[in-house]
């Protein structure tokens, strides 16, 4: 008689986009029939040129925007069926880190992090215990009472990571977290995100940082023109490139716009 198997109940994926299409007012297509599934505990890089739909993906998960068609499911719930009044609850369960830090300038480091707990109605004793702890974890134990404008960019980003993680959300979204930082500081931030992922939180990082992606060798989802063109476990920033792809990527990274004639010449050369 075969032994009865006792499996853990299967938890739904943390993020599931099904054929999601986003059209902005004015007709620009942010995402086109994109289907992305991310399981709990994963560490995912989202790459692609500017305007490819990476930020649209983040906005979609925070319900900042709604898809024209398709569905967005977070932790088993279709968030587009959610009433507006439930959106704050959704956002409390998703930590966010942005390129421009998005800190409250008129609050100290401590109060910025504490605010994320206060919105959930956490008791004061809990806040007093958790905030210094998390700030110590991100290495800012000594700057608890400084204001954001007294900190360096890297330090501000650490505050924002601390705020995103203080309530231990199951999902953390980072939109170009190292975009404004020098390489050394960037490594520190990525280390933090890695550590948060090890603690069990699903981490999605939108990035242009080729080196970081290549070194970390995690799942890479590549978007182009609102479509998923690659989804690779332990991938590189880019697959082997042809000369013209390399040119396109370099132009994108350097922000150079070249007209078509010159482009042809470049390919021939």
């Amino acid at each position: 008689m075969p032994e009865q198997q006792h499996l853990r109940p299967q938890k739904p994926p943390i993020v599931e986009l099904k054929d999601a299409t986003v059209v902005y007012p004015g007709g620009h297509v942010g995402l086109e029939r994109a289907s992305i599934k991310i399981d709990r505990g994963e560490f995912v890089f989202l790459v692609g040129p500017t305007g490819c739909g990476k930020s649209t993906f983040i906005k979609l998960l925070l319900r900042d925007i709604e898809p024209a068609s398709g569905s967005v499911v977070v932790a088993g719930k279709d968030i587009n069926d959610m009433s507006r009044s439930k959106v704050p609850q959704l956002r409390r369960r998703i930590g966010t880190v942005f390129q421009d830090f998005k800190l409250l300038q008129n609050r100290t480091v401590y109060d910025n992090v504490a605010y994320a707990l206060k919105v959930t109605g956490s008791p004061r004793s809990e806040i007093r215990r958790q905030v210094p702890e998390i700030l110590k974890m991100v290495g800012l134990g000594a700057k608890i009472h400084n204001y954001p404008d007294e900190l360096s960019g890297g330090e501000q980003q650490r505050v924002s990571v601390a705020r995103a993680f203080v309530s231990h959300p199951p999902l953390l979204l980072a939109d170009e977290p190292t975009g404004n930082l020098d390489p050394e500081t960037s490594i520190g931030i990525m280390q933090l995100l890695y550590r948060i992922n090890r603690a069990g939180t699903t981490v999605v990082v939108v990035t242009h940082d080729r080196e970081m992606v290549d070194k970390m060798r995690r799942r890479v989802i590549q978007l182009y023109d609102g479509r998923v063109i690659r989804d690779q476990a332990a991938g590189l920033y880019a697959t082997d490139e042809s000369t013209s792809e390399f040119g396109a990527r370099m132009r994108d990274e350097l922000g150079v716009v070249i007209d078509d004639d010159r482009d042809d010449t470049a390919t021939v050369l």
């Binding site: 369960r93 998005k102 919105v119």
Partner: protein, 299 residues
């Protein structure tokens, strides 16, 4: 309760850290409240003076000299019962002569009279001069041919005061003017205070964005702003009331000692005025904050 304390703390923090826009809002509110505080008593005094003048307009009903006492008392009752009639006063010829004598500069004129030429009359005061026509019609309703006929055979003539018509027109215009000024003042104050509050919140729309991002509910974001509005309104009103009080003590009070006119003006009392100003400023400022925020919250 602990939430309320938190909201108070948030409001205090915002005021302290955004001192410049807060002070600008407080000053604007102070100036507006001051303007309202000066103009409201002036408007109300003008209005009450106008009403005073209007209430003195009256109708005179002259009787024939041979009117009997019963006719007179019947008529007095009858006039008193007409709608819109405030008081009826009988003036006998002798009383009329005394009144005339009091008004004349040259009393000797009366000596040349052989007999009293003045007829008995009723002075009829109305509740509002606009009802002059209806009372007049009640005293002498038109007969079958359309000509007015007095209700009593004892009535000789019904006369309105010489300038009744002009006074009625002028005071009517003044009343409309006062109403227009009051409405304009109210609108201007609302816009001024509302706009200032809007500007001070506008500077902080990014802050609201961040709060929404970490999952703050709309009211969690809004309460501190509303409380901040209340506090800004309170401070602005206190400054204005202080200046008003100084003005009252140093300018108006000494004047009213010297001139009966100022003292007799029937205007709104100082206590209710400042209470209304303080409450009004706070309500408008708080509402301004709450409503402005609504736009940023994208409800």
């Amino acid at each position: 309760m602990s939430k309320f304390v938190f909201f108070l703390g948030e409001a205090y923090r915002a005021l302290r850290r955004n001192a410049a826009p807060s002070i600008a809002a407080i000053v604007t509110i102070a100036v507006t409240v001051l303007l309202v505080g000066v103009l409201v008593p002036v408007l109300s005094a003008t209005g009450s003076k106008t009403d005073d003048v209007r209430s003195q307009l009256e109708l005179k009903v002259f009787l024939f000299n041979d009117a009997t006492d019963t006719e007179i008392s019947n008529l007095e009752n009858r006039i008193g019962n007409i709608a819109h009639v405030d008081t009826v006063e009988y003036i006998s010829p002798a009383e009329a002569l005394t009144l005339l004598e009091a008004k004349l500069q040259d009393k000797s004129l009366l000596d040349q009279l052989n007999s009293n030429p003045l007829p008995p009359a009723f002075n009829v005061k109305l509740d509002d001069p606009d009802n002059l026509e209806s009372v007049q019609a009640a005293l002498s309703p038109p007969d079958a041919s359309g000509k007015p006929q007095p209700v009593s055979a004892a009535i000789d003539d019904i006369v309105t005061g010489e300038q009744t018509q002009q006074i009625r027109e002028v005071t009517g215009a003044v009343k409309i003017l006062l109403a227009v000024i009051a409405v304009l003042l109210a609108i201007a104050s609302l816009f001024l205070v509302g706009n200032t509050i809007r500007l001070s919140i506008y500077a902080r729309r990014r802050e609201v964005e961040v709060m929404q991002l970490v999952g703050a509910t709309d009211w969690f974001i809004r309460w501190p702003f509303v409380i901040e509005g209340l506090v800004v309104g309170l401070f602005g009103a206190i400054i204005a009331v202080g200046i008003l009080f100084l003005g009252k003590v140093t300018i108006v009070d000494p004047l009213s000692e010297d001139f009966a006119l100022v003292e007799n003006l029937n205007t709104i009392a100082f206590g209710p005025l400042i209470a209304a100003l303080v409450v009004g400023a706070m309500v408008v400022a708080a509402l301004g904050s709450g409503v402005t925020l609504r736009r940023f919250l994208r409800i």
